[in-house]
């Protein structure tokens, strides 16, 4: 009669019960997007887990080969749409390496601030959804309350709340105004108090501890082998942070600590991220102080390329008159030298690396994006083995995956 009757009757012929296959996703409330997991269950324990991705695959790498360098920044917004400023920076760093330009100090400081703002907003969203997955729904709303503030600051900075396209090759698009600086300062003053709110609700709560302690334990060696980066790796006790190891932007002139965990379980990763929130807050404060030193400096490098590099593929029809075109005065259009460049940043979710190959043309020849979520999802089968479905939800939460980031 019922499907299950047959399963129970037949088994696998050896008297052992057959495993129960369940399809989690792609439209499941706690897979953070369109992740699909094919689970084999023994009761509620996961025997095998096979993640299927690609439901959000937009072919960013292929598209980038047909857009010029500045236009790809718009694509990068759509990767990890929670922290798009960080993606912008990764792309721009790679292109700047290729072009051999350094942005002015003010631009670097602003980028650092924006990157940390993106980190805070991403971590807040992570905490919100992670807590909601485990059932604490009030934390979700409190996090969104504060994230909203941050997004409205972003709106003042660049006119968009999520897809910023704020960072440009060779600097940033708009300078900060005094109003933004004041608002940010107020945010940094008040934010530590807000963190206490979340911690009161879950930090030492016994249910939270039970749900996160000793779930998905990864030791340092395995974590490196699995390619985990960012807070997930640091939760296992490896102090690998691109901001410290290969400093970019203004990270070499600010002080901050890299928090690490001990046991490498879900709770440690939670702790690491909570500490990072405070560190990011501190970094923003320092950068705001330093911004005073470079008051009035430009935010775009002299030799930064114009938004319009000559484009072969997208020559509009009919052709514009070559001599009547409006060429920027006093500035030569740079030529992208052939070659390759690799840049990686510490994005909120982990190490975001961009490898770009140029053939001297206006478009990248090949743009490879190594995204943290992709690697983290590939580690789910390893982490989930032997845990229960409820833990799987916690594991997806603790890895902090964004499917736009994963599928590209």
């Amino acid at each position: 009669m019922s499907l299950y009757v047959e399963v129970i009757k037949n088994g696998n012929g050896k008297g052992e019960p057959e495993h129960f296959t369940i399809n989690m996703g792609p439209h499941h409330p706690s897979t953070h997007g369109v992740l699909r997991l094919v689970l084999e269950l023994d009761g509620e324990t996961i025997v095998k887990c096979d993640p299927r991705i690609g439901y959000l695959h937009r072919g960013v790498e292929k598209l980038a080969e047909h857009l010029n360098y500045n236009q790809t920044i718009v694509l990068s917004d759509r990767l990890d749409y929670i922290a798009s400023a960080a993606n912008n920076i990764a792309f721009c760093l790679a292109f700047e390496k290729l072009l051999g330009i350094t942005p002015p100090r003010r631009a670097r400081l602003i980028r650092t601030i924006v990157n940390e703002m993106a980190r805070i907003s991403s971590h807040l969203l992570w905490l919100a959804t992670h807590a909601l997955d485990i059932g604490a729904m009030t934390v979700f709303l409190y996090c969104f309350r504060d994230r909203e503030w941050l997004l409205s600051i972003f709106e003042k900075v660049c006119g968009a709340r999520l897809t910023h396209s704020y960072v440009r090759v060779g600097g940033v698009r708009l300078d900060f105004t005094q109003e933004i600086i004041d608002e940010l300062r107020r945010f940094t003053e008040e934010f530590p108090q807000r963190i206490l709110d979340y911690e009161t609700l879950i930090d030492v709560n016994r249910i939270w501890l039970k749900r996160t302690r000793d779930v998905a334990v990864v030791d340092a060696e395995t974590a490196i082998n699995l390619g985990l980066t960012g807070p997930v790796l640091r939760g296992s006790g490896v102090p690998y942070d691109v901001r410290k190891f290969r400093p970019y932007d203004a990270y070499d002139e600010v002080e901050f600590e890299v928090p690490v965990g001990e046991r490498g379980d879900t709770y440690d990763r939670y702790k690491v991220r909570m500490k990072e929130l405070r560190q990011s807050n501190w970094i923003i404060k320092q950068c705001l102080d330093k911004l005073k030193e470079v008051e009035g400096e430009p935010v775009l490098a002299e030799e930064a390329p114009d938004l319009l590099l000559p484009s072969r593929v997208r020559e509009p029809e009919p052709k514009p008159h070559p001599k009547k075109g409006f060429v920027f005065t006093g500035k030569e259009l740079p030529v992208v030298p052939p070659g390759e460049a690799f840049a990686s940043i510490e994005s909120p979710k982990g190490e975001l690396a961009v490898y770009v190959v140029s053939d001297g043309g206006p478009n990248p020849w090949r743009l490879r994006i190594r995204t943290p979520s992709f690697v983290h999802i590939s580690a789910i089968p390893e982490l989930a083995k032997g845990h229960m479905i409820a833990d799987l939800v916690a594991i997806i939460g603790t890895l902090d995956v964004v499917l736009g980031d994963c599928d590209r």
Partner: protein
Amino acid sequence: MSDIIAQIPYPLLVFIVAFILLNLTLLHVAYLTYAERKIIARMQQRLGPNRVGPRGLLQPIADVLKLLQKEDIIPNNVDKSVFKIAPLISLVCAGTGVSLIPLWEKFVLSNLNVGLLFILALSSLSAYGVILSGWASNSRYALLGGLRSSAQVISYEIAMSLALLSVVLMAGSFNLQDIVKAQVASPFKVYLIPQVVAFFVFMVCALAETNRVPFDLPEAETELVAGYFVEYSGIRFALFYLAEYFGMVVMSALAVTCFLGGYAGPFEVPGLPFIWFLLKLYVLLFFYIWVRATLPRYRYDQLMGLGWKVLIPLALANLFVTAFLKLYL
């Protein structure tokens, strides 16, 4: 007044009282959903429902109307008869308990001598609705939800019964009316003070019995989507929801009767006989909602562990101590 009541034939009287009671409870259940949404919203610094009627007061009615109008989808592969009847089992079992609660000294629909046992039996039976719906849906999420629910109900029923048993020991009766009277006669006026451990155990078990946070595993939204009623829609879906809230009301009413002195209050309020009972009931219902806004969810095996390793021994120890005191004091 009493003359008129005396003239009404007994079956009709019962019917009238039952009708009043049913409507009263339904109203409470409907506005419990509203209160829950509003209170949680305020705890989360949100506005909450405020579109239908002034301050959103007509929201529950709008919800019911919407659910009544919706198409009642019955998927192809389900076991149709069981699928249809399961929500009714849940609702009836959860709702019937109200008839045994003494709302007032002179207002109790059926004053059974084994009232407490009857309520316990009903609340266990309501798990059948959940299990059957999980089975009949022929969906894997629903089945997991049903399984979780059965395991949960079985383990928490014991601790709850044991907690209530100490109350029975103190009162010397299974009759709820007698329990209230015994409480009023006792030195503390309420059993909450001597039986604080039993009260704690009872409240935790009541949360688990009614599938509320932090024990809402059968319907754990983020894990099993909606658990056992994932395939339901329209009015049948609403019936499950009603059953859950009925369960909350019955459990709270039981707690009020057994631990908080029932309808008795510090002083009589003329003209408002139910006021003390309702007041206590609202406090407990608020507690349910409050807990939901604050706590995360347990995991399935941890929940079992809590039930068997903590609550049952606690309730047993409490029972022994109570029995000991009863014998030698």
